[in-house]
């Protein structure tokens, strides 16, 4: 009981402080009152501290099984392991709101503290926007959906966590995904602040780009881990189903991918100013839209465990956010006209612009597909698009993006001088050799014949860039690997970006391979019978029932060569007999054998067996991409300019 009161008090105090911070921030920003700006910042820090207190209280309540708190009762029970009990913190509606607000308050505090040193005026507005967003979440938690609401009595045990969430993935996917969503608030706040304060020059781009990269990196991790989890837990043989909630996570990621590239055009050439504001704002609005879609349950989704009556609140918040950002953008639109348009001729900025158009088109297509049931439903006839729509629309756009990954980094800024072919000879050669190799190997699928040569070309382009490291390193004293590491370390933004490119290309190869060459069979087998899929033969040996703590499991045994695969079906009697599939996967670098136990009747068992080529590449590529973000932009933020070690007298030419 005391924990509930304490947690509610922390939330209430944080709400008051967030309101104070927001009001003080606006007044300070408008009047240029630096003292009031400091008060606003301190109120924001204190609100963040209050959220830390509330989160600590909720964790304590979960771990001490304080079932008088409705949230603890509904999302945990005594049989849950300690890590999953702690993970129930963000496993339900109210807890995930608290987690979101906590992360935004902490990230916002760091961003505001860092920016206030150099730019206190603009930061006061950013502070106000951040306080507004955190304040909204606190408002909802204090007055509508409190994580500390009490039951009338104290039950002896809780209802437990949704079986789908009782998995190791629960410990890693939601924290990153929610962190990504909340992180989009930070670049948004600084973009709106730049518009409100009139300091909409290139400085805001430099300031915002890093926060956008943090959000992008977190969202990349969230998406990759989400796909990994879906692949391992949902048992349909795939990893991305174009579910509205998955789309909602993808859209802000796409918009921010566009922004982190177009920001460079503004930094270098001073153009795309309004466009960049639009992308940062769109990423945040799309993340709020995503939350609205998840929470409202207005669209059918696999994430139905998150549905709640909060949809209306988030819709209101979305409308308010659109109005504020649209108003701020419209007010400054006259000033944001670029002094010169982007040159349409082949150039680095031209490639960035084309990439932006492709990504925005893809975002728009995904948005249309996601919202179509909602929009068409208003006319009385609900239309739904399936995976085929998304694949048909996204395939040509993604192929064009792959081509740009191969070509763009080799183009100089402003304009190509000299021959095209000479510049692109190595990637073109790689694409040609790969195409010939694929044809010779008997590959006839158009998707693979188009995409994989482009992947090879893109990888060669990245290798060429890394090859320049070796050239520069040779000029330095000391062992070559050490010298190369020094060159990379001093140009980490550039080489981090290329590592992210390598990651994306590896992911693309994985997507293409698993999509084009997937094989599957559905069979019913008696013990001793076999099924062959691709080059793998699996023999069903039998079934065993294994009771576990909170569930019972039916485990099938299939022999595959020397190995045994054991797909299972878990049943949770305490949760109304809910059943969960436990997929058996044998992974190798080039293909996964993926077995789902679909059902059992007497001695017979129904299986779906998939052979999924190159799926491992998706996880490896995702890891490389995140490593690239970490290497390039987060570790040493002060290293901005591209340069080689002192004494060399040369800067890495920015082509």
């Amino acid at each position: 009981m005391f924990l509930a009161e304490l947690g509610s008090a922390f939330l209430l105090a944080s709400f008051v402080l967030a309101v104070l911070s927001g009001v003080a921030g606006v007044v300070a920003g408008r009047g240029g009152d630096l003292t009031l700006a400091r008060v606003a910042r301190r109120a924001f820090y204190a609100a963040a501290l209050g959220l830390v207190g509330a989160s600590g209280t909720l964790l304590t309540a979960l771990l001490s099984h304080d079932f008088v708190i409705a949230y603890v009762f509904e999302h945990s029970d005594r049989s849950l392991s300690l890590p999953l009990t702690a993970a129930a913190f963000y496993g339900g509606q109210e807890g995930s709101l608290l987690y979101w607000a906590l992360l935004l308050a902490l990230m916002g505090s760091v961003a505001v503290a860092a920016a206030a040193v150099s730019n206190p005026g603009t930061t006061a507005f950013a502070n106000a926007v951040l306080a507004g967003i955190v304040g909204f979440f606190l408002l909802v938690m204090v007055f509508v959906a409190s994580p500390f609401a009490l039951l009338s009595g104290t039950p002896t045990d809780g209802l437990g966590l949704n079986p789908l969430l009782r998995d190791g993935g629960m410990l890693i996917h939601p924290p990153f995904q929610l962190a990504g969503y909340s992180a989009f608030g930070v670049p948004f706040a600084f973009a709106i602040a730049a518009l409100l304060s009139g300091r909409d020059d290139a400085a805001w781009v430099a300031q915002t780009r890093r926060y956008a990269l943090v959000a992008w990196g977190l969202q990349s991790a969230g998406l990759t881990l989400g796909m990994w989890w879906a692949y391992h837990v949902l048992g349909w043989g795939g990893y991305f189903g174009w579910d509205p909630v998955e789309n909602a996570a993808l859209m802000p990621w796409l918009a921010t991918t566009a922004y982190i590239h177009s920001a460079q055009v503004q930094e270098r050439r001073g153009t795309l100013r309004a466009w960049n504001f639009g992308l940062v704002i769109a990423a945040f609005l799309l993340s709020v839209l995503g939350t609205f879609v998840v929470r409202s349950g207005i669209l059918p989704s696999v994430h139905t465990f998150a549905v709640s009556p909060l949809g209306t609140w988030f819709f209101g918040f979305l409308v308010a956010s659109v109005a504020i950002s649209g108003g701020a953008l419209a007010r400054r639109s006259g000033r944001l006209r670029s002094p010169q348009p982007v040159d349409a001729s082949p150039s680095r900025e031209g490639a960035f612009l084309l990439q932006n158009i492709l990504l925005v088109a893809l975002t728009a297509a995904v948005l249309w597909g996601t919202l179509l049931p909602l929009i068409s439903g208003m006319t009385g006839r609900t239309l739904v698009v399936g995976a085929a729509y998304y694949e048909r629309v996204s395939a040509p756009l993604l192929v064009a993006v792959l081509a740009l990954l191969a070509v763009g980094p080799l183009l100089p800024w402003q304009r190509v001088r000299g021959g095209w072919l000479r510049l692109l000879r190595w990637p073109l050669a790689a694409a040609g050799v790969t195409l010939a190799g694929l044809v010779a190997a008997g590959v006839r699928q158009p998707g693979a014949l188009v995409a994989l040569p482009l992947v090879a070309a893109g990888l060669v382009t990245c290798l060429l860039e890394y090859g320049r490291v070796a050239v520069l390193a040779r000029r330095l004293a000391g062992p070559l690997p050490l010298a190369a590491a020094r060159v990379v370390a001093r140009n980490r933004r550039r080489y981090g970006a290329y590592l992210a490119h390598v990651g994306i290309l590896v992911v693309a190869a994985g997507l293409v391979g698993s999509h084009v060459w997937q094989q599957s069979r559905q069979v019913i087998l008696l013990p001793g019978q076999s099924v062959t899929v691709g080059s793998h033969t699996l023999t069903y040996e039998g079934m065993a029932a294994q009771p576990a703590g909170d569930h019972s499991a039916l485990v099938a045994r299939l022999a595959m060569g020397d190995e045994t695969l054991e797909p299972a079906r878990l049943t949770y009697p305490s949760l109304g007999g809910q059943a969960l599939t436990h997929v058996a996967i044998r992974s190798s670098p080039f293909e996964d054998v993926y077995v789902v136990l679909a059902g059992a009747d007497g001695g017979a068992a129904a299986f779906t067996v998939y052979v999924n080529p190159l799926v491992t590449w998706i996880w490896v590529g995702g890891a490389l991409l995140i490593l690239g973000v970490l290497l390039g932009n987060l570790v040493r933020p002060e290293v901005e300019r591209e340069r080689v070690p002192a004494g060399l007298g040369a800067t890495v030419p920015a082509r």
Partner: protein, 43 residues
């Protein structure tokens, strides 16, 4: 109880939050005639 605890928490936070205002030196008296700080006025 919640309101009491919240008020106590706010009371703890108040000195930290409001310190910049409390520590701000009082505004220098200004001349009603010229608007300049008073010490610059004079003979």
């Amino acid at each position: 109880m919640t309101w009491v605890l919240a008020t106590m928490l706010l009371a703890v936070a108040a000195p930290f939050v409001l310190w910049p205002l409390l520590a701000r030196p009082p505004a220098e008296p200004r001349s009603p005639r010229t608007g300049a700080p008073r010490h610059r006025e004079g003979g």
